[in-house]
């Protein structure tokens, strides 16, 4: 008997009645998601973007609000200057970013182990938690979000979702990426005496360029 058979047999032996049909189990599972508003926090702000900014700011994320994508290079330059960083940037190899005018910044699409700053795109933002959603893909390396010290992320205001379940609903039945990551604030740790330190292994700074409104 394989370990698999042993485990499944032990589970079945522990159940007095036979397993209900799959549809019945699915219905019970779905019922456990009923009335989501009764089991999740209520937003404080009426406007989605205001709630997102409130939640993300509380975690140490900074913001710049831009009218459109064309304003991105200038906003990045401003950020790098403010932090006294060289005008160099690892750029997510996405057509939407490559198409911009990067005259003033030295961009490259490889992310170095000691990368100072990188720019990427978020697919969604979740207002409930102030989280950004990124997926791995051909033009979306995961390490771009983890190696740099400064992580700058473009988020379209129209891509904001109210709650975690809204993201789950978007992805239900869809092909899943290798990695789907909800990024909520810069990396941090409380492992030494419980005191909070930013920039543990991932980025110490998270800066969001919020587009449109």
């Amino acid at each position: 008997m394989s370990a698999r058979d042993r485990i499944l047999a032990a589970i079945r032996a522990a159940r007095p009645a036979p397993l209900p049909p799959a549809e019945a189990i699915a219905a019970e599972a779905a019922a456990l998601l009923d009335a989501p508003e009764s089991v999740r926090p209520r937003p404080v702000e009426a406007v989605l973007a205001a709630e997102f900014v409130r939640k993300a700011s509380a975690l140490g994320t900074s913001f710049d609000h831009l009218p459109d994508r064309a304003a991105i290079p200038l906003a990045v330059k401003r950020y790098l200057d403010t932090h006294g960083l060289p005008p160099a940037l690892a750029l997510q190899p996405a057509p939407a970013l490559a198409a911009l005018d990067w005259t003033d910044i030295d961009t490259h699409d490889a992310v170095a182990p000691d990368q100072t700053a990188a720019l990427g795109l978020a697919l969604w933002g979740i207002a409930e938690t102030g989280s950004l959603v990124i997926h791995s893909g051909a033009d979306a390396p995961i390490l771009l979000s983890f190696l740099p010290l400064h992580h700058i992320v473009v988020l379209e205001e129209r891509s904001l979702l109210p709650h975690l379940e809204d993201y789950a609903a978007r992805m239900a039945g869809q092909p899943q990426p290798r990695n789907a990551i909800l990024i909520t604030g810069p990396s941090g740790t409380t492992d030494i005496e419980g005191s909070y330190v930013r920039g543990a292994h991932g980025p110490g700074f998270l800066h969001i360029l919020m587009i449109g409104g």
Binding site: L33, F146, A180
Partner: protein, 479 residues
């Protein structure tokens, strides 16, 4: 595997004399307790969410075979290889085989309590494979040659000064100062090359999502993604109880987990890992292996410890435990410390090895009050005591004393009267909330303080609290 070497009482005694340990524990658990209280107060739906979380776990446990097969199907379709292990030895064998076949020299690991439970660190060492722990706390205890003392903060027994000594010896260059920020930077520098040079990355899983086949990790440091992305192979080890039906169910539990563990609302990185690198992907491992581990869980399914399978490993029960806060995690001698550890260690290591643990409890009920999935921890500890009694594992003196207790317990009015009088008398001994010694239980309080009674018995307070809460729950249910 993880059987305590020495008696619990000897270890607890030794730890109680350790003043530095007491300071270290208080700094972290005190913080965690305060932050959790704030987070729960800011979420009025918490109690309703908790009932829902419990129901989700119960639903999965009742249909575990269904969800395991669904998970296996979907993970396989995503390109992962699913392995099954009945016990720790089988799990270790599977993982070392994968590493050796890949000719792995360097393995990075993102903290997982299951890895500790199955003795993975030793197994890798025995196979001659270099293992690098990447979670900061795990990095600290790896340098110290220790085991985790807490399931969320494995190095919480170490003060900053002690960490500095370890880092100065191990890091090149050594950290310039011993404040936490400088030391975290030093670890970041030191571990970066390891992340990128590893052949295999091993992570645990907080959830296994049945309908997508994804495994979910939650971390604050970002080390899990740096562990699982660069190497050629990603191995996940997970207990079979980690299943959830869908991503939305995982989120419902996540709201409880993070608030209960750290007092936050969301960990910095909540990551779903679904299969290996897709064709054309910019990065990611070529292979993903998932090892599903039983190791006593199906046994729990069949007995009175079944509710323990709901545990989401948040650590709240230990942060709020008066015994844990006096003696720390190492004294428990098993992989898991605190109240949840006192229930799980007899399952994993055998009751004969660990019969002291279920006794190391004041039955004040705080653990069950804060448990986000409503596990009746004191009831389960009492069940172990009964079993220990029935299996005649108790020393004779204890059996005699318990006989008296049982006589009174069968006459509830006598028991209640006795404990009520006792409790009020106890107040006289109390200093600053703690009782250092007590005539009738001398042997016990010699190595740990009892909380000072508030003047009402726990049952009286509990009933008063329940009366208040009943109204509140009723209102929530009607919404």
């Amino acid at each position: 595997m993880n059987a305590p070497q020495q008696g619990f009482k000897e270890r607890a005694d030794a730890e109680l004399k350790n003043a530095v340990l007491k300071i270290a524990i208080d700094r972290t658990t005190g913080n965690a307790e305060r932050k959790r209280a704030v987070a729960v107060a800011a979420f009025p739906e918490f109690q309703a969410a908790r009932a829902r979380g419990r129901a989700i776990k119960d639903h999965v446990i009742a249909h575990l075979d269904h969800y395991l097969e669904m998970f296996e199907r979907n993970a396989t379709a995503a390109g992962a290889t699913v392995h099954w292990a009945s016990d720790d030895a089988e799990a270790r064998a599977i993982i070392t085989r994968i590493c050796l076949e890949a000719d792995a020299k360097l393995v990075t690991r993102a903290k997982s309590m299951l890895g500790e439970e199955i003795g993975l660190p030793h197994a890798l060492a025995d196979a001659g494979i270099e293992r690098v722990e990447t979670d900061l706390a795990e990095h600290i205890i790896q340098l110290a040659g220790e085991r985790p003392s807490h399931i969320v903060w494995p190095a919480m027994h170490r003060t900053r000064e002690q960490v500095a000594i370890l880092f100065k010896e191990a890091h090149h260059p050594p950290p310039a100062a011993d404040d936490p920020a400088t030391m975290v930077q030093s670890a970041r520098r030191e571990l970066r090359a390891k992340f990128l040079g590893a052949d295999v990355g091993i992570s645990g899983a907080n959830f296994l999502v049945a309908d997508t086949g994804a495994t979910c990790t939650v971390t604050n440091e970002g080390n899990a993604e740096l562990t699982t992305t660069p190497p050629r192979i990603h191995i996940v080890t997970a207990g079979i109880e980690k299943l959830v039906p869908s991503t939305a169910h995982a989120f419902a539990l996540l709201r409880l987990l993070v608030r209960s563990a750290t007092g936050g609302e969301m960990t910095q990185y909540t990551t779903f890992h679904c299969g290996p690198k897709r064709p054309g992907d910019a990065d990611g491992p070529e292979e993903m292996h998932i090892v599903l581990v039983d190791n006593g869980r199906t046994r729990m399914l069949a007995d009175e410890f079944r509710p323990m399978l709901r545990c989401i490993r948040c650590g709240a029960c230990m942060n709020h435990c008066v015994v844990y806060r006096q003696i720390g995690g190492h004294a428990y001698g098993g992989t898991y410390p605190g109240p949840m550890g006192a229930v799980l260690t007899p399952v994993l290591d055998g009751l004969a090895q660990s019969r002291d643990l279920p006794h190391a409890c004041t039955m004040n009920g705080r653990c069950a009050e804060v448990c986000p999935v409503e596990i009746p921890l004191p009831t389960l500890l009492r069940a172990w005591r009964t079993r220990s009694w029935r299996e005649r594992l108790e020393p004779r003196s204890v059996r005699a004393a318990l006989g008296l207790w049982a006589m009174a317990a069968r006459r509830p009015w006598l028991y209640r009267l006795g404990s009520r009088i006792g409790v009020r008398a106890l107040r006289l001994f109390g200093r600053r909330g703690w009782i250092g010694s007590l005539p009738l239980v001398g042997g016990w309080t010699a190595y740990r303080d009892l909380p000072r009674p508030s003047g009402r018995t726990f049952m009286e307070q509990y009933r008063a609290g329940q009366a208040g809460r009943a109204g509140q729950t009723g209102r929530e249910a009607r919404k």
